[in-house]
Symmetry: C2
Subunit: 209 residues, 2 copies
């Protein structure tokens, strides 16, 4: 069986990453969502093993020491990281593993795993981004302004992603992501063993075997 694709999903706050990932895993069996490990405290409504694995600082550092994370970072005084075992086990089983992480983490993943596929999710326009953030009705103008300022910084890094995904209609977008993962499987970086096999087989002919 072909290995799954390590799928990194980033994007603007308000672009609908969360909903997109949720729908993708519901609609297609071959996706598995990686759950991050963190030392920060659970917020209202967050569930252990679903939102995050909540651990102590000691447990987190122990996991680092055991090489149990594929990447980790500190943010606002807390550790966040991606447990290795689940990711590797799901990829081996042929499932595409989704990491929903921000741009810095995405860059790190790409360095460590050149065969990872990086998607950046955006709204069709900045105006739509603003109106989606406002439409939630749960955030103050100050928070919205901060998110838009953050988005402006993040937009500078869109170039380093493999694909840009415009989230206009959710179902269309889910199917588009699925098609992009299929396409990504046809890139040479993810077909190394096929290419090597072909080169070796043809080598035989050119030697007149």
């Amino acid at each position: 069986m072909a290995k799954g694709v390590l799928l990194v999903i980033s994007g603007f706050s308000g672009a609908g990453k969360g909903t997109l990932v949720k729908r993708l895993t519901e609609k297609y069996d071959e996706y598995a969502l990686s759950v991050s490990m963190t030392t920060r405290n659970p917020r209202e409504g967050e569930q252990e093993g679903i939102s995050y694995f909540f651990v102590s600082r000691e447990q987190f550092e122990q996991t680092i020491a055991e090489n149990g994370l594929i990447e980790f970072a500190q943010y606002c005084g807390n550790y966040y990281g991606t447990p290795r075992a689940y990711v590797e086990q799901q990829l081996e089983a042929g499932r595409n593993v989704i990491l929903e992480i921000e741009i810095q983490g995405a860059t790190n993943i790409k360095k460590l795993f050149p065969e990872s596929c990086l998607l950046f999710v955006t709204t069709p326009t900045a105006e739509i981004l603003e109106s989606r953030l406002k439409g939630r009705g749960t955030e103050t103008d100050e928070v919205i302004a901060k998110r838009l300022a953050r988005a402006s910084e993040e937009a500078q890094g869109m170039d380093m992603y493999d694909y840009i995904v415009i989230n206009d209609d959710l179902e269309t977008c889910v199917d588009e992501v699925h098609a992009l993962v299929d396409a990504a499987r046809r890139e040479p970086v993810r077909m190394k063993s096929f290419i090597e096999d072909m080169q070796n087989q043809l080598m035989g002919y050119s030697k007149g075997e």
Copy 2:
């Protein structure tokens, strides 16, 4: 309207590039096949403007001087090149223009047009390639051996293509290529103006406009 994608198709002799391209242009309206210009003599059955544009050496060099070719090369004492006007006009009209060229030409095109999309067409195995070449029944064992030796060289360059296309079943393969072109449109290199627009719009917000 979005510009078309400049689609470069290479692959092993016997992998079915010609049939694939023919079927792709028949099945989907949005593809246009670029016709090369050459100074070599027409062969039996070749048609002016369909197989090639057949011109004199003087006419070819005049076209080079007028910057009328996007690339050209000499091969066995004859010139071969891609006329610029048709390619640009079709791309502007939103059609994907197919260039069926070998690996050296493909590399040149990629340098000149980083937004071009390079596909490499292969059979599932070298054995199938051999049996397809033999199955044509029109070529001597010596010619077949030469083609396989050539394929072995070409296989060393598969890595530099954007996508590897395995031509097993023709119709599946045609649809796969169509999906790959759709995916290619989502790569940042082909979304430069979208990315710039988004960056500029968001810049406005971060300045508090």
